[in-house]
Symmetry: C3
Subunit: 310 residues, 3 copies
């Protein structure tokens, strides 16, 4: 999320009662997570394993639980619990409240749209021209939809990330204040769910077509002209390049990368990044031709066992 107006280091640190390293009037222009940060952003890190990655990231303000050396051109905010304080800041700058009725504040709708009266829209919604939004669709806050999109009945866009910090007293919900960005000519099936980013965006590229009951997790970025069949489940922070085809009921765990033009056959479950231009099958998935060869060999096991007298 971008801060508008931007805040000074001193202002941010004062909000969470932390000391800091850097010029008090250093400008912080956004808040984001490691995989999404750019210059001007504040990010948090609370595990030594990720200190270096955080300090060397594009983020210029680091909320951290150790007084490390401050990199050039950056600032530090020292917190005993960076995650808690990050969560406080996102809630502070992007507080949620239930929209009254079916249209929130700052809803802009383009020309020649057909949007059923039962569609519920939160705040900060932008819909392009010639879109069709069928009955029962729910758009949470911060959803942008391009031109010529079709959203089928009872789909949900912008629901919260499934993202918790484990605490001794239970799981603490991380506040979701990101957005959903849908490109032009995207079609989203009935009863699909597309979660918003935690503090960044969940993106679906132009021309991508998504069948019914598909789930897309927070901060996932999907390319152009992809095709996802019914009941595909894609976790959070996944990157899917252009022209990828996922057949029905495929599962993609978090943080994976799928290369351009990859095809994943029905019911497969990926367990690692996969290169583009190839076809995959199985759970866990391998290249399809290898997997089919294995399946053929498994059918020879009776012969093997017999020959060995086992």
């Amino acid at each position: 999320m971008k801060l508008s107006p931007s805040q000074t280091l001193h202002q941010i640190a004062a909000l969470i009662g932390c000391k800091y390293v850097g010029a008090p009037d250093f400008q912080i222009t956004g808040i984001n997570e490691i995989h999404k940060v750019e210059s001007g952003d504040l990010m948090f890190v609370d595990h030594p394993k990720y200190y270096d990655k955080a300090l060397q990231s594009a983020a210029t303000a680091i909320l951290i639980n150790k007084e490390v050396e401050c990199p050039n051109g950056k600032v530090l905010i020292i917190s005993d619990d960076p995650c808690r304080d990050y969560n406080f800041l996102t809630r502070h700058f992007s507080p949620w409240k239930m929209t009254e009725g079916n249209r929130g504040k700052d809803v802009r709708i383009g020309a020649d749209c057909a949007i059923h009266a039962s569609v519920v829209m939160g705040e900060n919604i932008c819909i392009g021209d010639r879109c069709i939004i069928h009955p029962g669709v729910v758009l949470y806050d911060n959803v942008n939809i391009g031109n010529d999109c079709i959203i089928h009945a009872n789909a949900v866009l912008g629901s919260d990330a499934f993202y918790y910090k484990a605490r001794p007293q239970g799981r603490e919900k991380m506040h979701s204040c990101g957005s959903v960005e849908i490109g032009d000519r995207v079609e989203i099936g009935a009863a699909c769910t597309i979660d918003k980013g935690v503090s960044g965006d969940t993106r679906i590229g132009a021309g991508t077509k998504i069948d019914n009951h598909v789930h897309v997790g927070h901060d996932t970025v999907i390319g152009e002209n992809c095709l996802f069949a019914a009941q595909v489940g894609i976790a959070g922070c996944v990157v899917i390049e252009d022209d990828v085809i996922l057949w029905g009921q495929v599962g993609v765990p978090s943080d994976l990368h799928i290369g351009k033009g990859a095809v994943v056959l029905g019911q497969s479950g990926l367990s690692k990044d996969v290169e583009g231009g190839k076809t995959y099958f199985g759970s866990p998935a391998d290249e399809a031709r290898q997997k089919f060869r294995e399946l053929a060999l498994v059918r020879k096991l009776p012969e093997v066992i017999q020959k060995l007298g086992l």
Copy 2:
């Protein structure tokens, strides 16, 4: 879809600017796809591989991209892009527009029904006697529901087929103008999605019971007294005979045929037609007893590998 009133060959050809072979006043009474056509119907074919099948089908008017010999009693319309022109015709004769409010035109509801006020119905809906339709259900245009049916909350019936023509500039949506036909005593679970046919029907036979989150694709025909557990996914153009049981999360790809009384165990994925009266398991599925034998043999692999010193 049936054309009412029927059209002449000349009228249809003029709409799409095509020349034709046959008597100008030859009657065209419907528009449908290859797997659904009957006498009087217009169908399209755009690949030489399917020319013979199309010309020998029950359809009496063929929209085709080559000047082939015209079979007896049939007519041809010659188009440089039969798919584009077919899509134009279905949109022309069955244009879609968003229904205002919660009840479209031509909605007929039988006696003693309980239909929640939040249920949204498009045009051309027929609901039998003693039906219960729970809150949040959305019925698109052209949905017929028999007697004594129960449709659970937030289910969607009649959503568009997931069906596109690949074009160099991206995927072109095929217009869905077919219907959904639900027999008597059918129960459909919460959040299910049943797509309409492209130009034919998606059918669910009498007495069939469907659990939550089940997806049924376009033009699929399901028999009587079937039982589908939660999260089953059935693609388009599938034929399922009577008394079939699909347990939870089973996947059925498009165009398959499942014989009467077949049982498919949970999470299985079919890859080919299966005979009735048998039990199947696995992804890809085989007969269950063979699959379970294979699984038992796989557990013997450590012995095999050890014995062979591999």
Copy 3:
């Protein structure tokens, strides 16, 4: 379900026209199924295989299709079709009717809740303090939600059990008159479906977090602080202890028991009870380390086949 006021043996037997064994004024205080009964409850049994279990259960009134010896302190009702008569009784004491508008009778809502106007609630609903219920959520009758819960858009709580009695003329629907009980701090994802108990409760323990598109069947009991990722499917009458993690698209068939702290990896399908504290994978699932070892050995099959000259 509890009967309020309680009924006498004579009253109940008269309703279904059955003779009985026991004092006419014996008090029947509830109606429930075998896995849920307590003292004062009526249950039914219609198969000799389960007679002993039924007669020795905590239930004190047994609706049975044979004149067996009546255990001490219990009563019998003799019926030619106990299932039909049980179904009659639950419908009689807990008749269903469609709620008019968006709020049924006996809806109690705690302090500081944010509940969207589009949310539909049936009868006998109790919601704790500080709950958020997003647009399009449907609560059927008999749903209790604790404090600090979040229910995401288009989720459905309290839909009917997927439960039928097979009859020669088709499947007879068992009436669902149980409830859904949600503990404190539970979060339920968009488009989830949680079925009510048939005559008992479906329970989700405090602190449990559930992602989008998850299905929970009737009478299932889920512990505290569990985590279920998207598209998990849990059938009816399952028991899941505390701290269990089910990753995306996991399937759990009916009547299984999952021990405390078990972890089931994505797309796995359980086929039997599993102990707590361990990690499982596969369909059917085994302990993950064993399953991964098997998968590695399967990859050695080409060598095996070659060495054996098969």
